[in-house]
């Protein structure tokens, strides 16, 4: 108190500081590891109980998982003998030898072995195009977009389906399978659902009654029906109405079904974003002479899409996992190839199924989590204008 000159008595109403209060180091227990633990882990009795329970849960769940996936796992072998418990090795973990043996099937399905290089080129082209599009500071992104949305789909189609004049034999889509199918369905769905969804959302907000009604009916109808039903309708009912020669390929029907289905969901997500843009933004753009599409492109869509990134991503992740439903209409996607392989008598062991599913979980998780991380990065980057 020596630095403060009190004016008047002890209960003075007037106060003038004559020297600044010195800044002292914080008490020991509030900083460092101990301080952090005190505030974050053991702040209240309830907090402390939760901390203990969670630590116990981790101690109970993680070690067996690590033992199964890594320590007791069998990494090599040519048949079921490798993955059976013996006296020497009573505990058998994941049978990665089985996964390794079937990896080609999981990747290509029944795609002919001599043509699999075509699928490899497709994967490489896809990775190249995605890298170009997803790396936001990449050079010549306009050219990248032309490649990814124009050249790549056409080349991929002939590469995967075949082009006899160039010596590429026709490979019927019923032979495609595994991760190839999952990737094709997911990429087509992801790339087409956002633009379609934006158009549907705009249609739903349109002043023109006809456009509005068509959009609303489409969105509500598709949302009111399960994806499996849409796929069944596409694969079973369509051929009843259309002559066989006109009826498109089974895979294409499933692709259209998935794309339209996710577009309807996307439309509602985008509409929420459009709703959040104040009317004043439209008015200011109009007053400056910008037209409807220019206003959308420069003023309305960038912030509207930015605030809906978490929801868009949510749709993409669920779309990626929903690709497994195409197996209901007889398409052999990644999960279905694993399903089929685990019944392979050469590898019949008690751990085969678990190993296959663990591998599936790992692959789906890797894909979905990468999407989530990437979206988070975009969100941060686009959030620059909110920095103060």
């Amino acid at each position: 108190m020596s630095s403060i000159a009190a004016v008047g008595t002890e209960h003075s109403l007037v106060f003038v500081r004559t020297a600044p209060a010195p800044s002292l180091p914080p008490p020991f227990a509030s900083t460092g590891v101990i301080g952090w633990m005190r505030t974050n882990l053991f702040g209240t009795p309830f907090n402390a109980v939760l901390t203990v329970l969670i630590v116990l849960f981790i101690a109970w769940a993680v070690p067996p998982l690590v033992r199964f996936l890594l320590i007791d796992a069998v990494w090599s072998g040519s048949d079921r003998q490798a993955c059976l418990a013996t006296v020497a090795q009573p505990h058998i973990g994941a049978c990665w030898a089985f996964v390794r043996e079937h990896l080609a099937f999981f990747t290509y399905g029944f795609y002919p072995i001599e043509g699999r290089w075509r699928v490899d080129i497709f994967f490489a082209m896809l990775a190249f195009g995605m890298g170009w599009m997803l790396w936001l500071d990449a050079p010549r992104r306009g050219l990248g977009a032309l490649y990814f949305f124009g050249i790549f789909p056409i080349v991929s189609f002939f590469l995967l389906y075949g082009l006899p004049p160039l010596g590429l034999e026709i490979v019927d889509t019923s032979l495609w399978g595994g991760f190839l199918i999952t990737v094709v369905v997911a990429v087509v769905g992801i790339v087409t659902s956002l633009p379609l969804g934006i158009l549907l959302a705009l249609g739903r907000r349109s002043q023109m009654p006809a456009v509005k009604i068509v959009s609303v009916v489409f969105i509500e109808f598709v949302r009111g029906v399960p994806l499996v039903t849409v796929l069944f309708m596409a694969s079973v009912m369509l051929p009843l109405f259309v002559p066989p020669a006109w009826s498109p390929d089974k895979l294409i029907r499933a692709l259209v079904g998935v794309a339209l289905f996710s577009a309807a969901y996307m439309a509602e997500v985008v509409r929420a974003g459009l709703q959040a843009i104040p009317k004043g933004q439209w008015e200011a753009a109009s007053a400056l002479g910008l037209g409807y599409w220019q206003t959308l492109r420069f003023i309305v869509l960038p912030p509207a899409l930015r605030i809906t990134i978490p929801n868009i991503l949510n749709n993409y992740v669920s779309l990626f996992k929903d690709t497994t439903l195409v197996f209901f209409v007889g398409i052999f996607d990644f999960l279905k190839t694993i399903e089929a392989s685990r019944e392979d008598p050469t590898w019949a062991t008690p751990v085969t199924s678990a190993s296959g599913y663990a591998f599936a979980a790992l692959v789906y998780f890797t894909c979905c989590y990468s999407m989530a991380r990437y979206a988070l990065g975009i969100e941060r980057r686009l959030g620059r204008s909110e920095r103060r």
Binding site: P278, G280, E283, P303, S385
Partner: protein, 261 residues
């Protein structure tokens, strides 16, 4: 207003040309059943500055929003810069290029920098080269005295600064007419001056202006004529001296007695 004293010597006499900038004849507008504008007649010549005032709900904002087509009207004639404004998309696009507007809530584009806010329309509507648009934008940002904020986002600026950016943004389209819709009503008191100063400067440069405002000091100093509206009609049009010192209509007298206490 103390802010105005610096300019109290008055604005240099300016030329009001014979040319008509805006011609409004028998304008009527309804929101559903409710009539918001009744037989409004008003002619604005090039170089002229008009201040519109009146109680809230009197139709002042609606009137100037009709001039650049943000509101449609049902009856009457409205000619802006020689272009008759009907529900014709082409005419509307032409008019909007020539008419700048400043809003009460600024309406800057929050995801674009100050500079991008200013260059967007010149580049995309006037098809101006990017470099030239940036030069023009910097010129006008200097004129509203915030060139150093060019690379910031609107959210990083004060209200007064944002409104000055909004003025610069409109000026970048080199409009022939500027509309101001209560430009200082959403500002903190100490920021009103900087925006009014900018508008006075603009008036001194000879811009044709229609200003909806309750800043009577500004009206006195800058306006050629003051328009008083009530219940969707023009009640009185007069020079600022006559309007403030010898209001004619009873409604005008009542309004002035309430705001000039």
């Amino acid at each position: 207003m103390a802010a105005m004293e610096a300019f109290d010597a008055g604005i240099a006499p300016h030329q009001v040309s014979r040319e008509v900038a805006v011609d409004i004849k028998g304008l009527n507008k309804w929101f559903g059943e409710f009539q918001v504008l009744r037989d409004v007649d008003l002619t604005l010549r090039r170089g002229e500055r008009i201040v519109i005032c009146g109680p809230s709900g009197s139709g002042k904002s609606t009137l100037i929003r009709c001039i650049n087509g943000l509101e449609v009207f049902q009856k009457g004639d409205l000619v802006v810069d020689g272009i008759p404004l009907r529900n014709d998309v082409k005419a509307l696009a032409l008019v909007r290029r020539e008419v700048g507007m400043v809003f009460q809530q600024f309406n800057l584009f929050p995801h674009l920098t100050v500079l991008e806010n200013c260059t967007l329309a010149p580049i995309n509507v006037r098809k101006m080269p990017v470099k030239q648009a940036a030069e023009v934008a910097l010129k006008f940002l200097k004129r509203v005295r915030i060139p150093e904020q060019a690379d910031k986002y609107p959210g990083q600026l004060s209200g007064g600064q944002q409104q000055r950016v909004a003025i610069a943004r409109a000026l970048c389209m080199s409009p022939k007419l500027m509309l101001f819709d209560e430009p200082t009503s959403a500002l903190d008191p100490e920021m009103v001056k900087e925006v009014l100063d900018t508008m006075v400067q603009l008036a001194m440069d000879g811009m044709t202006m229609i200003v909806v405002t309750h800043e009577m000091g500004f009206a006195r100093q800058v306006a050629d004529r003051v328009v008083f509206m009530d219940a969707g009609q023009i009640v009185e049009i007069n020079t600022p001296e006559e309007f403030f010192n010898h209001p004619q209509h009873e409604r005008t007298k009542l309004f002035l007695s309430q705001i000039l206490k």
